[in-house]
Every structure is written in structure tokens, then in C-alpha cells.
Symmetry: C2
Subunit: 300 residues, 2 copies
């Protein structure tokens, strides 16, 4: 069943120990689409500027993404300049951020998208995320991601929003910042009490922790030796997770574990190249091949 995502579409300038790239297609929603599209029809709600290369829009369409609600604002596309140092490829240093058309972005949703059964609120201002939720009929599954910026500066909006979602995705730093708990299991339990029934803590190279009232589980990350560019790994993970969940009937332990494994595999492809260079050409058969390796790697 189809999946709608709201978030950012960006032009990224990235520097890592493996080199530098400018003008990469990036942003939370774009990276999300690139893995979710492998499982289901994905509808993108986002804004770009007048400078946004047409080839990127063509590319998204070719990948099967419904761009009916990708609007062109008056101004420049959101731009992110980041760097990863050799010592810690897990955390990005933001060198510059130009919000551009993100300022004052009012999402629009086409008529045929208002009843989509699965929705993901990828990282963007929580007020914008809430604005989208108000425009659509209550879907079957709502997922949410955020970031430290909003935890620190729009905590109230975020906390309010959390009461309306089913699944919350956070990296370890965000989970700790939002709950003021160092221990991730305690942090996950606190996040659960804030609203969402399902909590997914992404730990980067250390894998993932899932928590809900009935069970919890954890998987290590897929073993990648050469991390080229981790930008968008968390969004790519969320795309695999939500993409797979959009195809299942019941969110039971078996399906949630499978969804987390898909997210893990997709994130591992993402970090092996700049931007979407490794996720864009992916076919599901390659994902399944790597899934087999992952399962051997984690089986007891």
C-alpha cells in the first residue's frame, strides 16, 4: 500500500575522508524515497527552489516517486554543507545551512494523496510535519523522525506531535537529548510514554534497537569496511523500514524485525557511496542478497 513522505529535498555539499562532492541531491525525504520506492509507491511532499536542477526531478520520477506535491517555491533550494572527519564518521559537522524555500514552506497535498494509508514525517520543522497531518485522513501507520535542532528549539511542537504518531525513529543522540537518559533502553521506554507505540533507536555503526510494550530487539549494523559518505543513512534506514511496513498487514514481531533488517541493509548501501550513488541503482534482488549475508552475520 502506498506511502506518503514529507521532509526536505536538498542540495548537499559534502566532504568526507573519501573526497568532496557539490550539489548532490539530498535531504531527508529524498533519501527516504530512494529506499522506500523499492517496496511500494512513494508520494513526495516537499519544496525546492527555482535553482533546483530539472534532472533531479526527472530522476525522482524515473525512480517511480509521485512528485505531484513537490512544489517549487520562490527562492533557493535548501542547501546543506557538511563534513565528516576520519576520527568519527558517525557524526556530521554542519559547516553551513541555507534554509532558502524551507522558510515559510506550506505543504500541499494532491487530492489523490489525502487518503494514503502510510505516512512518514521525515526530518523537517515539527510545525510543518503537524501541518501535513492535519491535511490528511488518519492513515493506518504514521512514522516520525526529527533532529537535535528541533529537540532543542521546538521541543514543545515536537512533543505535541509525538502524541499523534505510531512509530518514532531517533538516533541515539536524539533519543538521549529528548529524554535526558543516557541508557538507551530507559530512553526508549521514556519515548514510548511520550506517545508512539513503536520506538526505533538508530545507533549508526552499532545498529538498531527496537522497543514496544510487548517486545524489544536489537541488531548490529551490516559490516561495512569503507564508509564513503554517511549522509542520509538514517533516512535511508527509515525508508526501508517504513517501505516494508507499508506492505504488511500486521505489525507483529516478525514483520517489525524484517522491516528493521531491510532498513539496516539499505543504510549499508547508502554509506558506501556519495549521495544516492549506491541506493539509486539498487534492485530488490541485490537487497535480498545482502540480507542473506546480514542474517548469517547476526544469527546465533
Amino acid at each position: 500500500m502506498s506511502l506518503l513522505v514529507i521532509g526536505t529535498v536538498a542540495l548537499d555539499n559534502v566532504k568526507t575522508p573519501h573526497g568532496a562532492r557539490r550539489g548532490l541531491l539530498g535531504g531527508s525525504a529524498a533519501h527516504f524515497c530512494m529506499s522506500a520506492r523499492l517496496f511500494t509507491n512513494v508520494h513526495l511532499v516537499a519544496v525546492v527552489g527555482k535553482d533546483f536542477p530539472r534532472k533531479h526531478i526527472q530522476f525522482l520520477k524515473r525512480q517511480g516517486v509521485d512528485t505531484s506535491s513537490l512544489i517549487e517555491g520562490d527562492g533557493k533550494t535548501f542547501q546543506w554543507d557538511g563534513e565528516y572527519k576520519k576520527e568519527d564518521l558517525n557524526s556530521a559537522l554542519t559547516l553551513a545551512t541555507e534554509l532558502g524555500v524551507l522558510v515559510g514552506f506550506e505543504p500541499r497535498v494532491a487530492h489523490h494523496q489525502k487518503k494514503l494509508p502510510n505516512v512518514f514525517l521525515a526530518n523537517i520543522d515539527p510545525d510543518i510535519q503537524m501541518g501535513l497531518l492535519k491535511m490528511i485522513q488518519r492513515p493506518k501507520l504514521i512514522g516520525l523522525d526529527s533532529m537535535n535542532l528541533w529537540i532543542n528549539h521546538k521541543r514543545e511542537s515536537l512533543v505535541k506531535l509525538m502524541k499523534h504518531v505510531d512509530l518514532f525513529v531517533a538516533n541515539d543522540g536524539e533519543a538521549r537529548a529528548l529524554t535526558e537518559e543516557r541508557n538507551l533502553i530507559k530512553a526508549a521506554k521514556k519515548l514510548r510514554r511520550m506517545g508512539p507505540k513503536m520506538i526505533v533507536v538508530k545507533k549508526g555503526e552499532h545498529g538498531v534497537l527496537f522497543y514496544c510494550d510487548d517486545f524489544m530487539f536489537s541488531f548490529p549494523a551490516y559490516p561495512v569496511e569503507e564508509v564513503v559518505d554517511p549522509t542520509g543513512a538514517g533516512d535511508t534506514f527509515a525508508g526501508g523500514l517504513m517501505g516494508y511496513l507499508s506492505t504488511v498487514k500486521k505489525f507483529n514481531e516478525r514483520e517489525l524485525k524484517k522491516a528493521a533488517l531491510y532498513g539496516t541493509v539499505l543504510a549499508s548501501f547508502n554509506v558506501q557511496g556519495f549521495g544516492m550513488s549506491k541506493t539509486a541503482p539498487l534492485k530488490l534482488t541485490q537487497v535480498h542478497q545482502r540480507m542473506k549475508h546480514l542474517i548469517k552475520f547476526i544469527s546465533h
Copy 2:
């Protein structure tokens, strides 16, 4: 089959967010014994001082540890003063170290211990570890642990020693320091090329990574909400790993995975109390109970 361990026996003064304790029985070899004894007969090679409480020796004997080669040196017992801060329970701050009888310690091995089939060189000066190896007949399995102090100050001795062992256990920081590789898979491969056929990287709250030429695997840590005192968790892990391996015929993937899971479970008990308060009373049935939970937690 029996297992001989050389390492430190210490009196620990520990401070954690859960309180402070003085004069705890500690040290790498003592913590190792406390979990290895659940699987096999353990022989302890170590030195204590004239101040070492007789009750600790009685305690070790009651736990089934062969103390024939636990000698009393002329001076004070090795003492470690450490603290763990709330922000990072994974890493200890050493406040003070009094080597005492460790200085000039020359291990002795009783006649009946010279042909024991399994040996673990727990953390202690690599020259002392090498001294022990020279005193015994080539065992079936030799494991080795070390620490940053020796990596930095006795690197040459440690590197030489690594060529003589089968299994090397290191935490993530040590693996990185010894190989100058940030990526743990690359680090494990480099450690393999330094000699030991089997590499075990302990990642604390993030679990364990195992590497050998034929396969690799990773498990998350057992989910513990209240970490009371992590002192000795790595040694307790090694005791479970080596203890179980001492009972198996072939070091194949299945048995090595099981050994790593035993180590994981035992380390989780260790961190839940000060010193050996949680590992000393343990019976194998409790270990198996927790093993069931762990397997549910990590199964795909």
C-alpha cells in the same frame, strides 16, 4: 577440560552513580574466574600481598578455583581506584593505581598445571604473560587480553606475544589503538594479521564483534537498564567465552557464537552489581534463563 588463567587479583575501590565501595575483590583474573568456573575447573595464577583478606582466598576456593599457584608476595596487594561518571558508564576513570606486589611478580605454576589444555592470559604486563607461556606445554587453546597501558608502553612485547596466541580479546578502544584503524572490521582484520586466528572485539553496551578467516559475526549486548558497576565486565565476558570454549571439541562457527553469547550473558550479570556481587552467586540455570531472553532479543 581445565582452564588456567594468569592475570591480576586486586582490591578495588570503585565509585559509580550508584554508590561507592572499598576493598572489593577484583582484578582481571579474579573476574575471569568468577564466570569461567561455571563451565570448567579453573586454575588461578596470580599474586596477592600480605594485606589480602583470607576471606577472599576462602571465597575463591569455595567457588571451585584451584589456588595452588596464587602466591603471596612481599608487599601490598595490587589496588585500583576507579570512577564511572553518569555520562559514560562505558569507560572508567582511573583515579589511582598501586601496583604493590605486581612489581617483580614472577608467576609459578604447580606441577599438575603444566599440561592444562586451555590457557587465558588475562590483562597483566605482557612480559609476565609471556613468562607464563614459557613455563607450560603448548595448550590446545591460548587466549589473550591486554589494555591500553601495555599497548602504549609495552607494544613490542605485546606484538611478540600475539604471535603465540590463538584468540585475542580487545575492547573497541584497544583494537583501534593497536591497529590505528577507526573502522572495527578493518581493525579486526589487522589484528588477525598480527597473529591470532580468532579476534573478539568487545564493544561494551554495543555488544561484540567476532572475526576469523572463515566467518565473522556480531551480537548486541544484553539489554541492561541499570548498570551499577561495569568493573570487570570485559574479564567476565572473557571468562564465559573461554570457559565455554574449554568444553567444546571444535572451534566452529556454531560453538564460537555460543561462546560469545555466554560471555555476553555473564557480562550483563557482572554490570548489575558492585564487584562480583551478581556473578558470585550465579548458577548455570540462571545463565541459561537469561540466554533464552538474549536469543529472543537478537533473533531475526
